[in-house]
């Protein structure tokens, strides 16, 4: 898979989270904390598994804790994706 940009990752996350929360994508702000979203630990782990399946590589389970907003996580995904593309 080619490297994923932060914007692509952000859009993907917003789409998935809006679906899980049953809300409009416009209602999900990139700056929101995951723990403010009514996204419980079960949903957060399922989302983490779906991110890994989309990216094709594993993220540490603690990633969502250390990158606690959509924006932070998207930036981390882009950085990690770039690093892997460069070394592939």
């Amino acid at each position: 898979m080619p490297a994923v940009s932060a914007l692509e990752a952000q859009e993907w996350l917003i789409e998935k989270i809006a679906h899980r929360l049953g809300t409009e994508q416009a209602e999900v702000a990139p700056e929101m904390y995951f723990d403010e979203m009514d996204l419980d630990s079960t949903e957060a782990l399922i989302l983490a598994g779906e991110i890994e399946s989309w990216l094709g590589f594993e993220l540490s389970t603690t990633t969502l804790w250390y990158h606690p907003t959509i924006k932070d996580l998207a930036a981390h995904i882009a950085e990690e994706s770039d690093r892997r593309a460069a070394t592939a």
Binding site: H19, R20, Y33, F34, D35, D40, T42, L45, I46, L47, A48, G49, E50, E52, S53, S60, T61, T62, W65, Y66, H67, P68, T69, D72
Partner: protein, 287 residues
């Protein structure tokens, strides 16, 4: 980079303060479900009896191990010692009962044997805990996927407050991938998971759940338990983790007596059902 506010969890959750002259129950909770799950029990306790939950999830050396492959750099005795210190800080006066659910019961049992400034508990109440005895010490690979998948199914249902059960016969002989397909189907049908939930998403949840079990298994294997210095009461769930063993292995560790009772529900829903809370509360009454 900011850290999420929910990372740091308290160890001590005082659900109800004991009235003068009444005892306090200190209940060790090992995570998996939120510590607030014991609120129902607090409400069911007789008037004046206090309930404080000691959440192992508040100890980073314990909870982080479930997120990093299931290896905890601690021991059961060290966890017991940490929690006993928390009890010494929280305890006001009077008698107390030690209790623990699941792996929390193993830690509560270790606490009961430690010298405490405020004296020993009057009894030890174990909620569907498996004793840390040789019969129940296993290598990681001895934990069969079909057994783990059955436990995971119970856990998923309890997380969502909906009944979810897959009979052992449906999971027998299945590997994790095939078993998870059945779990996903059943969970979506029971509205426990969204219909759009994917197998990779469920797999991540399952792997993290199993890492939590492996962490507890690896902590239990080297642990050398001493006999409990107080009477022990075991409350088994009707659909216990090990239905075929009446005492879950506790007999040799309870020289001052072992009472066994059963309550409605499975290993997880025994914490959320009002009828189970009523059985457990009655056993926590007599200090």
């Amino acid at each position: 980079m900011r850290r999420p506010r929910s990372v740091e969890q308290p160890v001590v959750h005082r659900h109800r303060t004991a009235a003068p002259g009444r005892h306090t129950v200190y209940l060790v909770h090992p995570g998996a479900l939120d510590a607030s799950v014991h609120r129902g029990l607090a409400e069911a306790l007789p008037a004046g009896v206090g309930l404080t939950v000691l959440d192992l999830g508040g100890l980073p050396e314990y909870w982080q191990a479930a997120l990093t492959g299931g290896h905890a750099a601690t021991t059961i005795d060290a966890l017991a010692s940490r929690l006993l210190t928390a009890v010494q800080v929280a305890h006001i006066e009077g008698d107390y009962v030690l209790a623990g659910w699941s792996f929390g019961g193993v830690v509560a049992h270790a606490m009961a044997g430690l010298p405490a400034r405020h004296g020993r508990p009057t009894r030890l109440v174990l909620l569907d805990s498996i004793a840390p005895v040789e019969d129940y010490k296993h290598d990681d690979d001895a934990l069969e996927p079909s057994l783990l998948l059955g436990w995971f199914t119970m856990y998923l249902g309890a997380k969502r407050g909906r009944p979810l059960h897959l009979g052992a016969e449906r999971l027998a002989g299945l590997g994790v991938d095939d078993g998870l397909k059945l779990v996903l189907e059943a969970a979506v049908a029971a509205e426990v998971l969204l219909p759009s939930t994917s197998l990779p998403g469920l797999r991540k949840l399952y792997d993290t759940y199993v890492d939590g079990l492996l962490r507890n298994n690896r902590l239990t294997n080297p642990h050398q338990p001493l006999p409990a210095p107080v009477p022990v009461v075991l409350v088994k769930a009707e659909r216990s983790l090990i239905p075929e063993d009446r005492t879950l292995g506790w007999e040799p560790l309870a020289p001052h007596g072992l009472e066994v009772h059963t309550c409605p529900g499975d290993h997880y829903t025994m914490l959320t059902r009002a009828d189970a809370a009523s059985v457990v509360a009655s056993l926590l009454d007599a200090a």
